[in-house]
Symmetry: C2
Subunit: 428 residues, 2 copies
């Protein structure tokens, strides 16, 4: 029988307590599956006295996660503190320097410092596992880096922030404004302390940056992501999109084109009959595309105690079984530096504008689009009571540059009331 | 740099050629990802002279797969011959006896002989990998055995035969009978040489038997599966189910109850708004449920050259990276013998019958259901031109035993024209 695998767990919030629960409830099952006992040597958290609903006296307590990370009787440091600086980063660095493997759920840390941490880990002959950092319980890191290892990955997409998907779904079903649903979600505790992490798309973009690196063999490049949050999505857009057969999702897309690595996290339209279009509420979905496998869709809970603990435990079990794989799917020193490309891949666009009720107004807009080389697939003008009419246009495939120049020219026609809205329609 | 991993590939049909293509196109990528060159030493197939669209002269040729499997210069034997007896079985046994790891896409072989082969492999310190045996390109073996390793798995479900799903989808969209669509599918080459493997549910049941073993730690038990094919699904049932908000799928379900391991492969109703209900055409879907992770849904191509080759290559890459895991997720000698249980878990049922046009006929049926302890959730009687009326009933949750006794009693009432149909409505 192999030696037990000894864990040091830092951070006893929802996820940390979930991991403790799994380890206590399934000790025997885990040993049967991995061939080794998995033990907790010591734990660390800010407040020792807090009632966490579980007795902790059987574990050694460390006030300082760095001390925990470097204990001789710890084989694997499990970092569940969070945050891209401060104690989480210091403790992970200390653990790697001390020759420990690391399991973390910390997407921000990896999105910002992933390259340096991976190089440290691999120089020390160690690894960092982070299944829980992306899409909660969905084993997407494993699917992408191991399940699709024989593929040239062509595109990765995902709805990876449950709070945003909840807000967009709730706006549609209840017919409420963004501001109303945001206030609801905040009151229900669905949002991060800094809600911009959710609604600004930052949390989801951290996850996308990690998936991009795994998919394309590039160094994690969070700053290369084109980032737009959901705060500019109006209930009018949601209704109009639904009327044309689409849903609006905060969708992350990463793909490599001749001009570089395109990474976008922005509100997009997807067909309402597609798996992404049918995804409601707080659930996450990741779509992986490879040259051999075609399209794989993975769906599951993106957050919560159980799902996140499940992902952490998958990594712990892999380490217990002796898995040794590079952090980002290939040696960190072999990862290339991506050239960030804006959305160069052509797409159809959804345009919504409010047209002043003047003769020839629509002709001016159609002319502007034609001059930008954009052809119209579908158009709808709705009835109206006041002096301007809502007009929706779905274009044929065109480039983001053409759309930007058309929007600018439209504003100059003098026939629009307010600013036009343009949203990309992602081919899914 | 590690030594190259040397493959011997037996079987050069669609999948074998797909694997060769991936190895040729992505040699460098695979080496970067796994840290080792992956080489093909020798290949084997029935007909050496056949044009397979790829030059094979760079590989040694073996007429006999057993000879290939035992070559000193082969590390991993890749079995892509198929069939649960004959050359596939002999060559896999020979490979294990000679101390090789095995990668196979052969669901029948594992469903019938999996336990004996796993014991042989593990006694020799080797393993068998079979990602391609279940649901084609979907990395479901990996998701279940590694991604959900921290979970007590509670249920596994899946639509795992693309031909059956194609037939059922096409019946609905084209309004054609089972016989008409079967003939179409056969003419298009969508069915196995023995179509009962597809439409009889045998192929899908092989896959379910493998998933059950991984999920519940039981010895593969193909014979313990309650098996019904799709040939008894009529276009009337598909239409009536659609009218009540359901789709009919050939659904495999495995779950452990107090009475034992329940494994079913049978046509079931699922809500048309569920991921399983929305699955159209030849695509596969597997649903995994665990106590921590909740529900994970995986969707992708279940067959075809690229997807199946992708799965084979995932296994090859795992072996190249040195992964050593037991064949069925825990040591074969520790797997328990399952007690097969018929469907003891309660469910709602869909009942369709043709009621003779007599006063009191419906009352007799309602009485029979009440006496069997079955309560009615919804009922519809359709208009009719002849002497009998179609009646549909959706029951509240009840047991299969109660349904069986009610069906038998109904037949005795003398008010039915023809036999009543009962289909389980699976909670998804």
């Amino acid at each position: 029988m192999s030696q037990p695998l000894r864990l040091g767990i830092a951070g006893l919030g929802t996820v940390g307590i979930g991991v403790l629960r799994v380890l206590r409830q399934h000790a025997e099952l885990l040993q049967t599956r991995t061939g080794r006992a998995i033990e907790i040597t010591a734990v660390s958290a800010r407040d020792k006295g807090k009632d966490r609903g579980l007795p902790l006296t059987r574990y050694a307590w460390e006030g300082d996660p760095v001390t925990l990370a470097t204990r001789d009787d710890v084989d694997v440091f499990v970092e569940l503190i969070g945050g891209d600086e401060g104690p989480a980063k210091e403790a992970v660095e200390a653990a790697l320097a001390a020759g420990k493997d690391v399991v973390t759920a910390n997407k921000a840390l990896l999105a910002i410092h992933g390259q340096a941490l991976a190089e440290s880990a691999e120089a020390a002959g160690r690894t960092i596992r982070y299944e829980a950092a992306v899409a909660g319980g969905i084993p997407v890191i494993k699917a992408l880096s191991e399940g699709l290892a024989g593929n040239d990955v062509t595109r990765v997409m995902g709805v990876m922030n449950g709070s945003c998907n909840y807000i967009l779904t709730r706006m549609e079903t209840a017919g409420l404004s963004y501001e109303e649903v945001f206030a609801e979600a905040d009151a229900l505790g669905y949002l991060e302390a800094d809600p911009q992490l959710d609604v600004g798309g930052i949390d989801a973009a951290h996850k996308l940056a990690i998936l991009s690196s795994l998919a394309f063999g590039t160094k994690v490049d969070f700053d290369g992501i084109t980032l737009e949050g959901i705060d500019r999505v109006s209930i009018d857009d949601i209704r109009a999109a639904a009327d044309m057969g689409y849903k609006i999702k905060l969708l992350g897309v990463a793909q490599m084109s001749g001009r570089g690595l395109e990474q976008r996290m922005q509100p997009c339209l997807v067909p309402d009959s597609s798996p992404l279009g049918q995804l409601e509420g707080g659930t996450n979905m990741v779509v992986l595309e490879g040259d051999a496998v075609g399209q794989i869709v993975l769906r599951g809970a993106g957050a919560g105690e159980g799902p996140t603990a499940s992902a952490v435990m998958a990594d712990v079990c892999d380490l217990a079984r002796g898995l040794k794989a590079p952090v980002f799917g290939r040696p960190a020193t072999s990862l290339s530096t991506a050239t960030p490309a804006s959305a160069t891949v052509a797409a159809s666009y959804y345009l919504r504008m409010s047209l002043e009720d003047k003769p020839g107004a629509l002709a001016k807009i159609a002319t502007v689009l034609g001059e930008a080389g954009i052809s119209i697939d579908r158009m709808r003008q709705y009835g109206h009571d006041d002096t301007s009419a809502p007009v929706l246009i779905v274009t044929h495939k065109t480039t983001p540059d053409a759309i930007a120049s058309a929007l600018s020219a439209m504003t100059g026609t003098g026939v629009l009331s307010g600013k036009p809205v343009a949203l990309r329609i992602e081919d899914v």
